[in-house]
């Protein structure tokens, strides 16, 4: 054979096998004739072009034939097809929906100019075990002067009362340095951003507002830029509308420049968060070593901060905490498990059907269909099923994502919205195709290698043996995966129940909370502010139905100020001398503990007579234990490091869960008579139904100051349940997925046994004809099914033992290997498997031996 013929023969392999088998020889002959008559390079080129043009066409034709055949097969068994399509649709919808959340939170870049180079520049104090903390404005200024490779900006939160156009209203907002917008790489939607000279004291008051505020409060007025509004009693010019991305970082609706007056700042006052943008090409390690050098220099210059350093945290880690990341990945794994179970189940259905189609396949083989051809045809069938299911699933997912976006509590995820983008769609399509291949390959392979001689002789024993092993294995796998899911869901549900049972340390029932922001221009923090609140609380307590009213700088679980500072005991202590411990502190009014029913364990509550001079404090039991062990803390003294002010303990109160249900933290309380914050939480306890008091409360506030607005009005119970929103969502979603998995797996087990009973009708009939009682037949079938079931459950428990360790961080007061959960899940699955076995077993026991033996 000459080389041109060899090349052409090789080129013929580009055609589908059917076409090659039919015309390959002819084409080769035509080639030889042609080569004989007109050999030459031009012919070579023409022939190759001919192959390149016609081979894909032939493939397209074969594919269309396969698909047409697959659709015809689907129509012949509509129930089966519908079951498969629906299963795939459910699994794909769940997967795509969860993936869209994962995509929004973990994969999609944050909506900033260069999100990979953005960092939180946090202060840290190793001696006090504070890994990350806000920064002081003076430190920010010093860092800014000395860094070369990182552009810095600062932001602090603040509450605004907006008046002058419409009812007075309160907004959360931020003070930001003019450098923040360029550091984040953001542009205002309209107007301009702050200029550098606007952070100097005495600069004219300017503000940016959010798009939402512009729409809501100003009715999309295009002339809002340049308008003057009254912010906290100060006439302020609106200079721009901020992009939504700014609120992803800062939250809130109003932004004003931070005015920095170095003469009035304290270097230890950690009041802002600093963000930094690394220069292009600078790694985070390089930036960290530069910042280490900077903070060391600042520490030498200002000894009061020499134990504070800098820790750079990537935006990604700042925005997405480990718990959220774990929770999302766990949910993603859970839905993938559901998908795998669905695949195993469909594979099992297809295997059962392959048996029914054995004759059809045998005939096609006998007529010359090759194994590859059959394999491709059967795969085309499963792909058509999965594509139909996937299309339905994607449609459901689009709807589910919109629903999720609306139903998820705000602030649960650190992203503005969850959406379906190209990546989510590709994921859905990929998952669909993978699903079709996954559930199609094993049955197609099994069917295609059917021994046709045996089959046509109606005694395909060996093939049936292999197939039933495969079917049992698939059913066991389904049960194993369902076991893992149920164990995970069980652990999370128990954690949730523990969280909701967790002793709060206070009684949230019948308590209404709201926030008030006194304009600092009008109310001084140490005289007029406290006096206002004294008056307000007196008039609130006089309202009928009110059992108590009080204020705090931050109520438990609330939106108020969370303040942690180092404190050290003066005099005898269980700690080494001068050991500072980070402790949450709050400002509270007299009656705060009574109003929230926090028990006063020793000593006394604050009175209106307590003031700034003696600085009496009340400590929580945990704080008292920390400093003085079992000793009586009354009369003991504490202070802040680097501060000469001594504080005397006058009372001890019960511990309160403050920030999260799974976290009990020591606390120190200051009297509000000495000083209040610009933003304070007010709590009002009523006899019943606290919302009914709201009109009366608004009236009292208006009587005292008509410019003041109530903000964040909410029952205390809502704050508490809101803090469990994420665990509740995790547990609920995982439970749904686990139940879905359980149902599919149960159907799978049932399907395997029901099929096996049908197959063995003859054998069972023979047994019964030989005198086996119905009870023994039931035991035989159930025993066989339970062997598969037990295998699956044991494998699942072993896998769960290995896997649940990873969700340890999400658990509260439940060990990851909780024997009760594992035992309970095993029992539930065993019962479900038993039920799935029992139905076919009963049917087997009713086999009429005569009919069974005649059958066939």
């Amino acid at each position: 054979m000459q080389w041109p013929e060899r090349v052409y023969r090789a080129a013929l392999r580009c055609y589908p096998s059917e076409f090659r088998d039919e015309y390959g020889g002819e084409m080769l002959q035509a080639f030889r004739d042609q080569w004989r008559d007109t050999r030459g390079p031009r012919l070579c080129v023409a022939l190759m072009a001919d192959v390149a043009a016609t081979a894909p066409k032939e493939y397209g034709r074969v594919l269309m034939n396969d698909l047409r055949y697959a659709l015809r097969m689907m129509r012949t068994s509509p129930l089966f097809s519908a079951a498969v399509v629906m299963t795939v649709a459910l699994a794909i919808a769940a997967n795509t929906a969860i993936f869209s959340v994962v995509n929004a939170v973990l994969l999609r870049p944050l909506p900033f100019g260069a999100p990979d180079r953005l960092m939180w520049v946090a202060e840290r104090n190793d001696a006090l075990h504070i890994p990350t903390f806000g920064a002081s404005l003076l430190n920010y200024l010093s860092w800014k002067e000395q860094t070369q490779n990182v552009a810095l900006a600062a932001l602090g939160s603040v509450t605004f009362s907006l008046s002058g156009s419409g009812d007075p209203e309160q907004f959360a907002g931020s003070r930001i340095t003019p450098s923040l917008m360029p550091v984040l790489g953001l542009q205002p939607l309209s107007g301009r951003t702050f200029r550098d000279d606007e952070e100097r004291p005495g600069a004219p008051a300017v503000a940016m507002i959010s798009e939402g505020l512009w729409k809501r409060r100003f009715g999309r007025d295009p002339a809002v830029v340049g308008r003057t509004v009254n912010l906290n009693g100060v006439p302020t010019t609106v200079i721009g509308i901020a992009p939504p991305a700014l609120a992803v970082l800062t939250g809130g609706d109003v932004w004003v420049p931070i005015t920095i007056d170095p003469a009035h700042e304290i270097r230890l006052n950690h009041v802002v968060n600093v963000v930094g943008l690394r220069k292009q090409g600078v790694s985070i390690e390089q930036a960290q070593s530069e910042m280490d050098a900077v903070s060391a220099r600042v520490g030498r210059q200002y000894p009061e901060v020499n134990d504070w350093g800098i820790r750079l945290v990537t935006f990604r880690h700042w925005f997405v905490n480990d718990q959220l990341e774990t929770a999302l990945l766990v949910l993603l794994c859970a839905v993938v498990f559901v998908l795998l179970i669905a695949c195993a189940n469909i594979a099992n259905l297809l295997l059962a059907r392959a048996t029914a189609r054995e004759r059809e396949i045998a005939i096609r083989t006998a007529m010359g269909a090759t194994r590859g051809r059959l394999l491709r045809q059967l795969l085309a069938e499963s792909l058509v099923l999965s594509l139909l299911g996937g299309a339905a699933g994607l449609a459901c997912a689009l709807w589910a994502v919109r629903l999720l976006d609306r139903l998820l509590p705000a602030n649960l995820l650190p992203v503005p919205d969850i959406g379906v983008d190209a990546r989510v769609l590709s994921f859905g399509v990929f998952a669909t195709v993978a699903t079709g291949l996954l559930f199609g390959v094993a049955p197609a392979w099994q069917a295609a290698r059917t021994d046709i001689n045996a089959m046509l002789k109606q005694s395909g024993r060996s093939a049936i043996g292999a197939r039933s092993r495969l079917r049992n294995g698939l059913a066991a796998t389904e049960l194993a995966l369902a076991t893992v899911l149920l164990v995970g869901a069980g652990l999370l549900v128990q954690s949730l129940m523990n969280l909701e049972r967790a002793r709060l340390g206070f009684a949230p029932q019948n308590v209404l909370t709201f926030q008030l922001a006194l304009p600092p221009a009008k109310y001084s923090r140490d005289v007029k502010g406290p006096a206002f609140y004294r008056q307000l609380l007196e008039s609130l307590r006089a309202l009928p139905g009110v059992r108590g009213a009080a204020i705090s700088s931050g109520i438990p679980f609330g939106a108020g100020n969370y303040t942690t500072s180092p404190f050290a005991a003066v005099g005898p202590s269980v700690l080494p001398p001068d050991t500072a411990v980070p402790i949450n502190w709050r400002i509270v009014s007299p009656g705060f503990f009574r109003t929230l029913e926090i028990p006063l364990v020793r000593g006394r509550d604050f009175t209106e007579a307590d003031n700034a001079r003696d600085v009496p404090v009340i400590v929580s039991q945990a704080a008292a234990r920390r400093f003085w062990g079992a000793d009586d803390p009354i009369g003991r003294v504490i202070r802040r490091p680097n501060d000469t002010q001594m504080m005397t303990v006058i009372g001890v109160v019960g511990d309160v869960r403050d920030t999260a249900l799974n976290q009990e933290s020591p606390a120190i309380y200051y009297p509000s008579a000495a000083r209040v914050w610009p933003l304070m939480d007010v709590v009002v306890r009523s006899e019943a139904g606290p919302e009914a008091l709201l009109p009366g409360i608004r009236q009292k506030v208006r009587e005292l100051d008509p410019e003041l607005a109530l903000a964040t009005v909410r029952p205390m119970e809502e704050w508490v349940s809101g803090s469990a929103a994420q665990p509740r969502l995790n547990a609920a979603l995982l439970m749904v997925f686990a139940l879905l998995a359980l149902v599919i797996a149960a159907i799978g087990t049932y399907g395997v046994l029901a099929y096996s009973v049908t197959q063995r009708t003859r054998e069972i009939g023979l047994r019964m004809a030989l005198g086996a009682p119905a009870g023994r037949v039931i035991r035989l079938i159930v025993g066989e099914g339970m062997l598969v079931g037990a295998g699956g459950i044991v494998a699942g428990l072993a896998a769960a033992l290995a896997i649940t360790r990873t969700i340890g961080g999400l658990l509260f007061a439940v060990p990851a290997h909780d024997p009760l959960t594992f035992g309970g899940v095993a029992a539930v699955l065993a019962i479900v498997a038993l039920a799935a076995c029992f139905v076919p077993a009963r049917r087997a026991s009713r086999v009429n031996p005569i009919v069974a033996l005649h059958d066939d």
Binding site: Y23, G25, E26, Q29, A30, D50, K57
Partner: protein, 119 residues
Amino acid sequence: MTARRSPSDPQRVPLALLHILLAVADRERHGYAIMQDVRERTGGAFKLGPGTLYGSIRRLLEADLIEEIDERPDPAHDDTRRRYYRITSRGRKVAVEETARLAKLLRHARAVGLAPKTV
């Protein structure tokens, strides 16, 4: 291939298919003979490659416009590997309709001066 472009549709017989129908209209031919006939008849302007030829033959067979014959009409070139094809009555009908359509098209083209008066 969609039903719209089926060769049995007289309005839309692709050129390659029509050429093959013409080649097997007067006598049975094998594949290479068809290629030669088409090339000679078009003066080398229209050349069928083997892939195009047999793809078209498969379509014509499926549409029942040509048929494969069992006897070998050309004993001189008796070669078991060669298969011979000839036009069916249905194929003849389709070819006639298609050429009539083309003839009509040519008349229209002449009428507006888009084609020479004589070929």
